[in-house]
């Protein structure tokens, strides 16, 4: 599974726990729109740190960096030079 698919799956899991069955696209905002909480953001951050070795202490953190599948894709390309 490529990183975009993995991130999509992760969001799917977070939404499922909250009984959120609304569809989403790669540009759907999750945190800035309030659809997911700051507690969910932490779960995602831990996932990104563990899975892709991102160190937010080093690169800085802003919720907009992880707000959508697209934003995370862009973050991963910048930080990890993935395709």
């Amino acid at each position: 599974m490529d990183h975009t698919a993995e991130v999509r799956e992760f969001f799917k899991g977070l939404l499922a726990i909250r009984h959120d069955r609304q569809p989403f696209t790669d540009s759907t905002s999750f945190f800035l729109s309030g659809r997911l909480s700051s507690v969910d953001a932490v779960e995602l951050v831990v996932f990104l740190e563990e899975k892709y070795g991102i160190d937010f202490a080093e690169i800085g953190f802003d919720q907009s960096q992880i707000d959508s599948v697209q934003a995370i894709g862009s973050l991963l390309r910048t930080v990890k030079a993935v395709d």
């Binding site: 909250r18 009984h19 309030g34 932490v42 951050v45 831990v46 937010f56 800085g60 953190f61």
Partner: protein, 525 residues
């Protein structure tokens, strides 16, 4: 197959499952129904249960789950310091991570400055000399109070936050030798001797605790280390009695005008169920007097401030005085504000007659009067009406309340010390107020007022708080209940689907209205 015997079998399966489910300690009420798939004709048993949230708190929010929530909040605070806002903040005023629930944007500097200054001002009235602050964060209080103290110990569980605080102290370049900073979680009082501080501060921290029992543990630790005559200041606590108003206020603010009230209602319920923070009723702190003999006086008052925001609307400070020498309890006759239809002008007129004291109860709180009305309208208006129509109705309302900050300013201007109280825990945020002519201000600080207050039950403290993260914890109960049904029923009798509801829908004659039960999306199992 004989249809009667088929029907009988079905009823017996339903009843067995229902009886079994009802015996589970986490279930308050239950019903089991048979749903038939319209296409295939297959029947399946679906269970509906009303959960006991206290049980969920006791069973699922402890141990490992509690530790995980603490770690999650620690990480949230670490992350708040890795951003631009923290890097750009001026020494002494790092408010990174303080976001408005209304706008989801950082709270502007001026309301934050007021919030900090008023808290510091209130603490200064007690002349603290030896302070322990748990959750000192980026030092909003510490950097202002430490200079005036003999000793200031600040603890915080976030290493990133403490790193920023140390950096600010260096930048400010003063003598901070009386300050000790320790990285540790809130319940850790290791190394602090009994009766060694005169003031314990826990400001805007309790909401990040995983449970009420964790808060209780921290308060127990505080009671041990604070000396007789000292105080425990628990500031900026989110009020449980106002949680529904808060949820309604936020959702109404964010809703587009075209949204139906039915959807708005659902969003308000969802926000309450999904609340991630610990929200506590003032009654909890008042009940501590019965739990801990060392606590002999408790005050709870709404947060003050001219800025209208979620802190000044829905939060309060609780002050626990320990073994405080009493200067006689002040028992005053309270005028009922609603009965006498008092407005700010009429309160001013009463004060201008120069009484030594004036006590008024049931003051309508102008800060949240609109939110109270919005929620009442939401409850009684047809679901098909829109948010836009609700807003129009609200605009036509005549507001009668008095702003807590304005009533304080009025009293102070006329030479009175003004104290407010939320000890009655009214669900509309109404408050009581006492004006005392200032003759000896130091004496007034120590004089206890007998406030009107709600009936308390110190043996049932759990009822005075929510269970943070309840929505996710309820999922754990669903799994436990399905396992329980499988273990206690034969395979063909155990429902494979279970839905939790806040209440079972009822018919006017008191039967469960099965037509109003939600239908599960897809068959499973």
């Amino acid at each position: 197959m004989n249809p009667e015997s088929g029907e009988h079998l079905r009823r017996s399966r339903q009843q067995d499952a229902e009886t079994t489910l009802s015996t589970h300690p986490g279930v308050l009420d239950a019903v089991v129904v048979v749903l038939e798939d319209q296409g295939s004709g297959d029947a399946r048993l679906v269970a509906y249960a009303v959960p006991d949230d206290d049980y969920i708190g006791r069973v699922f929010a402890t141990g490992e789950a509690e530790r995980k929530r603490v770690q999650t909040w620690r990480k949230t605070f670490d992350l708040s310091q890795f951003g631009r806002q923290a890097s750009l903040s001026k020494p002494g005023f790092n408010t990174a991570g303080w976001n408005s629930s209304y706008t989801r944007q950082p709270i502007p500097a001026e309301p934050m400055r007021e919030w900090v200054e008023l808290t510091v001002q209130e603490l200064r009235t007690f002349h603290p000399q030896e302070i322990l602050e748990v959750g000192c964060g980026t030092g909003l209080l510490l950097l202002r109070l430490a200079r005036e103290c003999k000793r200031y110990a600040g603890t915080d569980f976030s290493s990133a936050v403490l790193k920023k605080l140390r950096k600010q102290m260096e930048e400010l370049g003063e003598d901070w030798s009386n300050v000790t900073l320790l990285e540790r979680s809130a319940e850790n009082f290791e190394g602090f001797a009994e009766d060694s501080f005169d003031t314990f501060i826990l400001n805007s921290v309790a909401q990040h605790f995983p449970s009420l029992s964790y808060l209780l543990e921290v308060i127990q630790g505080a009671i041990r280390v604070v000396k007789p005559g000292g105080l425990i200041f628990i500031g900026d606590v989110r009020s449980l009695v106002l949680l529904e108003l808060y949820a309604g206020s936020i959702e109404l603010y964010q809703a587009p005008s075209s949204m139906s009230l039915g959807e708005l209602r659902e969003r308000v319920f969802h926000r309450i169920r999904s609340e991630e923070q610990l929200v506590v009723s003032p009654e909890f702190f008042l009940a501590l007097r019965d739990r801990f003999p060392k606590v002999n006086r408790v005050e709870v008052h709404p947060r003050l401030g001219y800025f209208d925001n979620e802190m000044t609307r829905f939060r309060y400070n609780a002050i626990l005085h320990l073994d405080k020498p009493q200067d006689g309890n002040l028992e005053l006759p309270f005028l009922d504000c609603s009965e006498h239809r008092l407005a700010l002008d009429s309160v001013a007129a009463l004060l201008r007659s120069n009484p030594d004291f004036l006590a008024i109860k049931n003051v309508v709180n102008a800060r949240i009067e609109n939110d109270v009305e919005a929620l009442a309208l939401l409850a009684r208006t047809e679901a098909s009406k829109t948010v836009g129509e609700l807003r129009e109705q609200l605009e036509r309302r005549l507001l009668l309340g008095i702003d807590p900050q304005k009533i304080c300013a009025l009293g102070q201007e006329l030479g009175y010390r003004v104290d407010l109280s939320w000890a009655t825990s009214r669900p509309d945020g109404g408050y009581d107020v006492v004006f005392r002519k200032i003759v000896d201000s130091a004496r007034l600080v120590h004089q206890a007022i007998t406030w009107p207050q709600a009936d308390l039950d110190a043996s049932q403290l759990a009822r005075y708080a929510n269970v943070p993260g309840l929505a996710v914890l309820r999922e754990k109960l669903v799994q436990q209940l399905l396992d329980y049904l499988r273990q206690n029923l034969s395979p063909n009798k155990a429902p494979t689907e279970l839905i939790l509801l806040d209440a079972l829908p009822m018919t006017p004659d008191g039967q469960v209205n099965i037509h109003k039960l939600p239908v599960p999306d897809t068959p499973t199992g």
